[in-house]
């Protein structure tokens, strides 16, 4: 193979990002539309929904913020709940940090905004992003295109809200997407124990104020997983999709 062609293929993360992103956008479409619909029906308006998609760029945090703001909650309560709901981004950032280590400063500060469940899952599915330039192109394409699609689909949801029938069908989109990202991770025993403990604790603590039950579940899951012995057999990176 021509050396120039080989170099081009190694450096070009754009095509791979677009290819990986297509099914993700399809799966996220109902979730993004739900945010637009919820913003309109909670009385905040489509503009707030679209703004939340651009600024927060994280569906569960957006839904939390919109729901609380729509019910008249104070700024402190919204901030605390959104921070708790989005605390998992710390993990994603920690896991992705090796890819950001040798990048330009502007990229580390600006592209961190694209750390979100789908982009994290997409990157961990690939084993060919060691080259900093290739990762940068992949990440900017995946994060940028997803952000544009996310904002656009939120706007579509906001526009369609008045004509959409009252249905809870879209409500299932978010937990189904989280489930789609969780299930492939349940291969090692600590992950299974942690997920189980988190699920039970989150259910038990669900009557607590918004965000606290979720945080209790996450904390219990992390502790349970941490004290669970790790099997000696290691999982190949390509088998850990998220």
């Amino acid at each position: 193979m021509d050396i120039t062609l080989r170099h081009t293929r190694r450096a070009d993360g754009v095509t791979d990002a677009v290819r990986d992103l297509a099914p993700v956008v399809l799966g996220l479409a109902p979730f993004a539309m739900l945010i637009g619909v919820t913003a309109v029906r909670s009385g905040l308006g489509a503009g707030t929904g679209v703004l939340s998609s651009a600024l927060l760029y994280g569906g569960s945090g957006q839904l939390t913020a919109i729901t609380l703001m729509g019910s008249g909650a104070g700024a402190g309560a919204v901030l605390a709940a959104v921070t708790l709901v989005n605390a998992r981004f710390l993990l994603y950032a920690a896991a992705l940090e090796p890819h950001f280590r040798d990048q330009p400063r502007w990229f580390r500060w600006a592209a961190a905004h694209f750390v979100v469940d789908p982009t994290y899952a997409m990157v961990t599915r690939r084993t060919d992003l060691e080259d900093p330039t290739r990762f940068r192109r992949y990440w900017l394409t995946a994060g940028g295109v997803l952000a544009v699609a996310w904002v656009a689909l939120t706007a579509v949801g906001g526009l369609l809200a008045p004509v959409l029938p009252a249905s809870s069908a879209l409500d299932v989109a978010a937990p189904a997407m989280f489930l789609a990202m969780l299930v492939p991770q349940l291969r090692a025993r600590p992950a299974v124990v942690g997920a189980g403990a988190a699920a039970v604790t989150a259910a038990l603590a669900s009557p607590l104020p918004s965000g606290l039950g979720l945080m209790c579940g996450i904390a219990a899951g992390v502790v349970a997983a941490s004290v669970t012995p790790t099997p000696t057999r290691t999982t190949a990176p390509s088998e850990s999709p998220s």
């Binding site: 799966g27 939340s52 940090e97 280590r101 809870s168 789609a180 299930v183 942690g194 219990a220």
Partner: protein, 100 residues
């Protein structure tokens, strides 16, 4: 304004371990804990969406969303395409609503 402050806090969560305190400098015990956060967070998110504020009994009282997420879990286990579980779950919810 509330949205802006929440967005700033969320950005802080994203950037702190990338640009301010790179994750490889954290104590080992914290890094080990962070490594287990993803499945715990995702499971807690699923259950929180499923039960709302109704407590643990809502986990065992079956409803349309239980069925939809059950189907989604099977689809997620069988296929690696992340869109399919979402589409399957939404389809189940629509079918249940039409039939009821």
């Amino acid at each position: 304004m509330t949205l802006l402050v929440s967005a700033a806090a969320t950005y802080g969560l994203r950037v702190v371990l990338i640009a301010l305190v790179p994750a490889h400098r954290l104590p080992a015990v914290l890094r080990r804990g962070l490594a287990h956060l993803a499945p715990a967070a995702l499971a807690a998110l699923v259950v929180t969406a499923l039960v709302g504020h109704r407590g643990a009994t809502a986990l065992v009282v079956p409803g349309p969303m239980h069925l939809a997420l059950g189907v989604a879990a099977v689809v997620a286990w069988r296929f690696r395409n992340p869109a399919l579980p979402v589409l399957a779950a939404v389809a189940v919810m629509i079918v249940v609503e039409v039939l009821s």
